[in-house]
Subunit: 307 residues, 2 copies
């Protein structure tokens, strides 16, 4: 039997009682070590579980043979931070288990997708979740802005999941053919805010040069600009930063997008929320406790008042 | 200190290790007994926790005085099925705690909002969640259909949370002024499907009588009809029923809306999903395992093929 066990958001004690029992009675215990990451290391997990934990990288999970072969003859636990089927890769693992005649069972747990309610915004008024990827020299994906605007137009909140890069091979090691890894990187709310600011600025700058574009490109640009203009300027666009949700040193901050780019919310993991333009009064009242300054509080109040 | 503790989806063992420790060290333990319900009773919880559990009805929670007074001088646990801040009422309790100078802390857990991924649909492509309320002689709310169509147009899945009526006073007891309660009622997937079918049929019937309506009503009706026409007929509209998610006798069924109205998925709790019109191939492949008949499987395949 293959148990897909969610281990929650931050500490070893976040596993469920059922999950812990299954881990302790499994022949082997694997930990997904690349789609997400706990704020604690493997050592603390092993100590708490009283079992050795094998780190599973992308190759091991996506090929799946080691895990599935083990699960064919014994109970195997595959541990996932958050809830187990949040990432497509794990649905894929469950599917391949089934194809090989290995039964699987899911043990659910908390996920950032619901823990985000800690900021006081109602889960029922969140729209589509978006992912904000790290930009680099060759790639600056921006489709998350279009999805965010789609939610905004319908007065829905947007949860932005921020990029995580774990076990990325270095360029040198790829050339040498012997894998060495970059240190793990986690996008902070300030970096996400910077990318969003850059994107909004770029679209504005492009407007000035629209005459130079082919007609079809210009039409698309005008369309994006018109949608973008619904957003208030960055100094008046409310955002909520969430850091280390569910842990004792959880930190939540409500401030403008412009300010978020320079807020330090401490160590990972971070998530960013762009609330709907008009908040329910209860949402605004709850969110206000996370406003650090008078200006932040005024911004929250304005979102409620515009209802 | 007030601990808002999620106890997960179905069994006593679904509490987290941290949650269990806090419950056992609390002076009093309250259980939210009206926004949701575990499939097990208070007795099994008390046995498992080794602590007496006090049922908190809506009045007790919304006034909050008993709970907050207790939390002012000692540790108090307030238990909520699923994740603690999913329902507005609990955000309200946390806010009033804070106003009275009582610190609160949230212990997260699994929620149907993420456990729904067990059917294989990706959480990132769910739109706004909707609630389907029981209809009665005086009220037939239908706004959930408009939200569902909004998701459908954007190729997003819709999770429909189905109504729960716990501790509803009987009409007779209201007249006598002494509260007696109706037996708890839980909406099944088949009842939700019936209401949805009725709603779609009503809109069609109304079309024939549009000439009789005032101009403004007729315009609104035409608008609703046009949006509704995007949906395939009920025999070809794929739906997914989910029953007792996370428990050992979990049941998931993928079939047409027309068929769902006569499927018996067993005891509560149920949730219904209307998948987006075009599924990712991995989603369709996963979902196919929950198709009971050839016709069901063909319907799932068609959703993938239309991509």
């Amino acid at each position: 039997m293959l148990y897909l066990i969610g281990i929650g958001l931050s500490d070893p004690e976040d596993v469920t009682v059922r999950g812990l029992e299954l881990i302790r009675s499994s022949a082997r215990v694997f930990l997904d070590a690349y789609t997400s990451i706990l704020s604690v290391g493997k050592d603390r997990l092993e100590e708490f579980y009283g079992r050795p934990v094998e780190l599973a990288d992308r190759d091991l999970v996506e090929q799946g043979d080691v895990i599935l072969a083990a699960a064919q003859s014994a109970d195997v636990s595959f541990l996932v931070v958050g809830d187990p089927l949040g990432a497509t890769t794990h649905a894929d693992l469950a599917m391949r288990a089934r194809q090989r005649g290995v039964a699987y069972r899911v043990v659910h747990n908390a996920s950032v997708l619901t823990a985000v309610a800690s900021c006081g915004l109602q889960l029922y008024t969140f729209g589509e979740t978006v992912s904000v990827p790290f930009w680099d020299a060759v790639s600056r994906p921006s489709s998350f802005l279009d999805k965010l605007l789609g939610n905004w137009e319908r007065n829905l909140h947007t949860l932005c999941l921020l990029d995580i890069r774990v076990r990325e091979p270095t360029m040198e090691s790829l050339l040498r053919g012997r894998p060495e890894f970059e240190p793990p990187r986690f996008m902070s709310c300030s970096v996400a805010a910077e990318q969003l600011l850059a994107l909004l600025a770029e679209v504005s700058a492009a407007e000035d040069n629209a005459d130079l574009l082919a007609d079809s490109d210009a039409a698309e640009l005008r369309n994006r600009l018109n949608r973008r203009k619904q957003l208030p300027p960055p100094e008046r666009l409310l955002t909520v930063g969430l850091a280390r949700l569910g842990s004792p040193d959880e930190r939540i901050a409500a401030c403008s997008l412009a300010d978020m780019a320079s807020r330090d919310l401490g160590p990972p993991l971070h998530s960013l929320v762009v609330p709907a333009p008009r908040l329910h009064p209860v949402e605004a009242e709850f969110l206000r406790q996370f406003a650090d300054t008078e200006a932040d509080a005024a911004l929250v109040d304005a979102s409620a008042a515009e209802r």
